[in-house]
Symmetry: C2
Subunit: 544 residues, 2 copies
C-alpha cells in the first residue's frame, strides 16, 4: 500500500496490541468534515473530507446493497503517513456519506495498512453469533519507529454493526512471518472448496502468497505466484477475483498486482493476469502482462467483495501516483490529497489476437447525469464548442460513438479538448481511428514535477463490429478516458491554474457513410448534495 522505503536495516519490533491509539485532535465519535469545493476538488469522484488518502482498503457491498469504501487515510496531514482506515458509504458509488474512521492503529508507532473486508454471513469466524451481517476486515499492521519501518503482519478486526465500528481480534496477528515487506491482504470466499482465500504480497520478493482458512483466524499457506510480469521494485495490493467472460457462460479469474516504484511510465502501475484458480493455485492462461490503464494515475485498484462472480465486478483505483502524490497542489490550497477513480465496471472479453482483455467502464454514469448539454446522433465531421462554466459541478461526461465502420473506412479522428477560458490551459484526448489514442495534460500549469509526465497513449484493436467509441469524464482535476467501451482506459490527474470551463469537440476525416454521434452531459454536483448550509460535508454524525 505504501511507498517502498529504501531502508536496508530495519527494526524488528514486537508489537503489543494493548490498546488503540487515537491521534490527538482527530474526532473518534464522528466523521472528519470537509468542503468539497474549489478549483481541484472533484464533485463526482470520491476524495477524503480532509488530508491524505491512498489505497482503497476493504471494499464490500452489504446485503442491503450499500457500498462500503474504506481507504488508507492519514487524518492529520496532507501527505502519506499515520495510516488509518477512513470510511464512507454509498448506495450508488457517486453520492457518499462520510463515516467516522473505521480502523485506528493499536499503538502510536503502528500504521494500519491496506487490506480488505468480507461478509462472514455464516459466522465462520465465531465473532458473530446470531448475526448474518458480520464484517471482518483483514489488514496489515506495520511497525514504525522514528520513521523506520518494522515488521509487517496480517491482522483482522470484526464489526458487529455492519462495518461502522471494529474491534481487533485478540489473537492478532493472524499471519506473521517476521518480514518487513509483507502486506495488503485481499480475502475472498471460494465456494468450491468452502474456504476463505487470501492473496497477500511478499512485496520485495515479487511473490504473491496464497493462503486458505476456514475461520479467517487460522491460515494455511497454499502456494506462491511469483516473478510474473512487470516487477519494478515491489509487488503490492494483490486482488484475486472471479468475473464474467463476455459472450460466454464461463467465468474466469483475474490476479491483479500493483507495482511501485519502477512502472514503465514511472512510479506506480497495476497489471493483471488472467487464469484459472482451483482454491489453492492460480494458473495464468498465458504469459501476457496486461496493464489496467494507459495513463499513470490508477494504482492499487480493489474489487468490491460481495458481487456475484457472474455479474460484472466493481472496483475503485487510487487515482494518483507515488511519484508525486505528496506534492500535488490540492494539499496546500484545499487541504486534501488524492481521489479514487470513478467506480469501474469490470469484466473480461476476447480481443482479437490479444485474447482476454479486462474491460474497465464507468459504473452507471448515466445515474448522475444532471443535464444534456449536447446530443447529436448524426454529427459527421465537425466541431462543437460548449461553454460549461455555468454547470454547477464543473464535471462532464462526453461520449463520441462512430458506427457503421468497415475495415476500409476505419479512418478519421475524434478530439475532445477541455479549456480554461481564463488562461487557455487545456487537457485533451485524441483518438485517430487508425492509430494510437492519446491523452495530453501538458498544457496545465499549476504543478511542475520531474515525474509529472505530459502525454500518454495506447493502441486499441478495432473489434470488427463496426464501432469505435471514446468517452471522457472530466471533474476539476481528473480526466478519465474510456476507449471502445473500456477496452482501454486512462486515469489522469491534472492541475490547471484556472478551472477548465469550455469544451471543444472536433471530428474529422470520417467517411460519409459512417455515423458519428456526440453526447455531452453535465454531471451532478454529488458532494454539494451532502453539504450543510455552510457548504461543509459533515458526514454521518449521528450513526452509532
Amino acid at each position: 500500500m505504501f511507498r517502498i522505503l529504501l531502508v536496508f536495516s530495519l527494526l524488528a519490533v514486537t508489537r503489543t496490541q494493548t490498546s488503540t491509539y487515537f491521534y490527538p485532535g482527530v474526532p473518534t465519535a464522528e466523521p472528519i468534515s470537509g468542503k468539497y469545493t474549489g478549483v481541484y476538488r472533484p464533485r463526482v469522484h470520491f476524495s477524503p473530507p480532509a488530508n491524505f488518502m491512498n489505497d482503497p482498503s476493504g471494499l464490500f457491498r452489504d446485503k442491503d446493497g450499500v457500498f462500503h469504501l474504506y481507504y488508507q487515510y492519514n487524518p492529520t496531514q496532507t501527505v502519506a503517513g499515520n495510516q488509518h482506515w477512513g470510511h464512507a458509504t454509498s448506495k450508488d458509488l457517486y453520492h457518499w456519506q462520510n463515516q467516522k474512521i473505521a480502523l485506528w492503529p493499536p499503538t502510536k508507532s503502528t500504521y494500519v495498512y491496506t487490506g480488505s473486508a468480507v461478509l462472514d454471513v455464516n459466522n465462520t469466524s465465531g465473532f458473530f453469533p446470531g448475526q448474518d451481517n458480520g464484517v471482518v476486515a483483514i489488514y496489515t499492521l506495520a511497525a514504525y519507529e522514528n520513521g523506520t519501518g518494522g515488521t509487517q503482519d496480517q491482522n483482522i478486526a470484526y464489526s458487529r454493526d455492519g462495518g461502522y465500528t471494529f474491534e481487533a481480534y485478540k489473537g492478532n496477528p493472524i499471519i506473521n512471518v517476521n518480514s518487513t515487506n509483507f502486506r495488503d491482504p485481499k480475502v475472498l470466499w471460494h465456494t468450491e472448496t468452502g474456504k476463505w482465500v487470501m492473496v497477500v504480497s511478499f512485496s520485495a520478493d515479487f511473490i504473491i502468497g496464497i493462503y486458505t482458512s476456514l475461520d479467517l483466524k487460522n491460515w494455511t499457506h497454499a502456494s506462491n505466484f511469483s516473478h510474473h510480469g512487470l516487477v519494478g521494485m515491489a509487488y503490492e495490493c494483490p486482488n484475486l477475483i472471479e468475473m464474467p467472460m463476455e459472450g460466454d457462460d464461463r467465468t474466469m479469474w483475474v490476479l491483479q498486482i500493483s507495482v511501485n516504484p519502477g512502472a514503465p511510465l514511472g512510479g506506480s502501475v497495476s497489471q493483471y493476469f488472467v487464469g484459472n484458480f482451483n482454491g489453492t493455485h492460480f494458473i495464468p492462461v498465458d504469459g501476457v502482462t496486461r496493464l489496467t490503464d494507459f495513463s499513470k494515475d490508477n494504482y492499487a485498484g480493489q474489487f468490491f467483495y460481495g458481487i456475484p462472480a457472474t455479474e460484472k465486478q466493481i472496483s475503485f483505483g487510487w487515482a494518483s501516483n507515488w511519484q508525486y502524490t505528496d506534492l500535488v497542489p490540492t494539499g496546500n490550497t484545499e487541504g486534501w490529497r488524492s481521489q479514487m477513480s470513478v467506480p469501474r465496471y469490470q469484466y473480461l472479453a476476447n480481443v482479437t489476437a490479444i485474447g482476454y482483455n479486462m474491460f474497465s467502464a464507468p459504473y452507471n454514469i448515466q445515474s448522475i447525469f444532471s443535464q444534456e448539454l449536447a446530443y447529436n446522433k448524426s454529427f459527421g465531421n465537425g466541431t462543437i464548442l460548449i461553454d460549461y462554466s455555468t454547470v454547477a459541478s464543473g464535471a462532464l461526461y462526453v461520449e463520441a460513438n462512430v458506427t457503421g465502420l468497415t475495415a476500409s473506412t476505419l479512418q478519421g479522428m475524434i478530439n475532445m479538448t477541455f479549456i480554461s477560458s481564463v488562461s487557455g490551459e487545456f487537457v485533451a484526448v485524441g483518438s485517430p481511428l487508425d492509430s494510437d489514442t492519446w491523452v495530453n495534460r501538458g498544457h496545465t500549469y499549476a504543478f511542475e514535477n520531474p515525474y509529472f509526465t505530459n502525454k500518454f497513449s495506447t493502441a486499441a484493436q478495432y473489434s470488427g463490429d463496426g464501432t469505435w467509441s471514446v468517452a471522457a469524464i472530466i471533474d476539476h482535476s481528473i480526466l478519465e478516458v474510456f476507449l471502445n467501451g473500456g477496452q482501454h482506459a486512462a486515469t489522469t490527474t491534472f492541475y490547471a491554474k484556472h478551472s477548465l470551463d469550455n469544451l471543444r469537440i472536433d471530428t474529422s476525416g470520417m467517411y460519409s457513410n459512417v455515423s458519428v454521434s456526440i453526447g455531452v452531459w453535465a454531471l451532478e454536483d454529488a458532494w454539494a448534495m451532502e453539504a450543510n448550509s455552510n457548504g461543509t460535508v459533515v458526514g454521518n454524525v449521528t450513526h452509532i
Copy 2:
C-alpha cells in the same frame, strides 16, 4: 520492422523474383553521400547519409574484426517506405564508412524488410566453395501494391565478397506461410545441435516461431514462443542470443521481442525474457517482463552475429519511435531521419530480488574521448558549469560516480542539465540515490507532437556494493543515460531550436563520508573524419 497497417483485406501477391529493381536516381555502384553537420545530426551515433533509416538489419562482425551494420533504408525519402538494406562498416563502431546499398528489392512492388546476417564459415549453404568468409543475409520480402501490404516471406541472399554485394538465392522464398504478418528473421548458429536456428515473428499473432536448418535454405519449424510479456499490437524483430552471466561461468539465453504499437509509454518498446535454449525450445526462467530501456526511443535492437557467447554481446537499437519517427524535424531541415543508439555492451547480471537483468552500457566509449573537460575525483556536493560550445563535435560523455555508500548513506542527488546558451532550452537527467531517476526532454521546442512524451523515469536497485553511478552521452539530438553501469538505460531523442552548448552538473545531499567523482569528456567528431574537403561524407566509393 515496420509500422503495423490496420488493413483487414490484404492482397495475396505472388511475387516473381525475375530481377532486382533499382530505384531511379539512387546510385547502385557507390554509396549515397551526405553531410554529417547541422543542429540535429549526431556526430558519434550512426545515422544514414541521407533519407530514412530504421531497424538494424543484419549485424555481423567478420573474421578481421570489421563490424558490418546493415539497416532498413528508404534511399529516396525522409519517411519510411521503399525499404532496402543500407550498409556501413566500422572497426570500432563509432567511425563508419558508408557502403553502397546492400540489398535491393527484386521488384518495384516489394520491400526488403528487417533480417539478419550470418557467416557461413563451413559453407553449409553450398554458396561458398573454397571460401570461409561467406555471408548470408536472411530477410523478409514484403509485397506492396498501391500502398497495401501483401505476403511477407523469408528469403536469403549470399555475398562472396564479405558482405558488400549480395545475390538472391534462386530458391527464394525459403519460408512462406502465406501470411501478411510474418517477418524479421534473426539467425544464429547453435553449436550443440550443429544447426542454424531462426527466430521470426508471426507479428499479429504474438508468436515467435523457432525454425532450424542445416543449410540456411531448408527450414523446419521447431517450436513457438507465444503470448509472453507486453503484446501491444504486434511482435517484431525477435533476437535470440546467448550471453555471459556476470560473476558466473554460465552463459544464459535472452529472447528479445520488440512491440509496436501499444507500448506502455506509447508506440514502440523492446522487452526481453531470460531463459534456456536447447536448440529447438526457449524456456524462460520466470514470468518477468523486462524492458530494455526506460525512455521511448530504443526499438528493434539487434545483436551482432559473430561475438562468442562467453564475451559481452554487442547490439544497436534503432533510436526512434514509430509514433513520430516520420515527423521529426531532421527530415525537413537536414534531409535525414533516425539514428542508431550508441553501440551497447550487453550481458546478464543478478540484481537483488529481480534476478536476471540485462545490462546495457556504452561500448568502449573511452576510445572516442577527444578531450577531458573536467575531472574531479573528490567532488562532494557542488556545481560545475561547462561551456562546451567550442567542442567541435558538440558531443559529450559525462559520468558521475558515488562510492563509499552504505545503506544508511544512500541519499543525495546527481543532476546533469544540458542547456542552450541562446534559447535556454535544456534536457536534463536527475538521479536521486534514494528515489527514481528521471530524464526530461520537455524543455526543447523544435518539435511538438501528441506522442512526444516529455518525461521518463525508472527505479533502480541499489546493489549494495557501495556505488551509484550515472553516465550520459549527449550528441546533438540524442541523449543516452546509463544508470549503475547500465543496469537501466534510457535512449531519448530531442529537438531544440538552438544547439545545447552548456552543461551544468549539480550534486547535493551527499553524506560527507561518501566520494563523488565527476568526469566530462568531449567526444570526437567521428563523422567529420570521414568527410571530404567539401564536408561531405561520400563513403566507400572505390570498393568493388
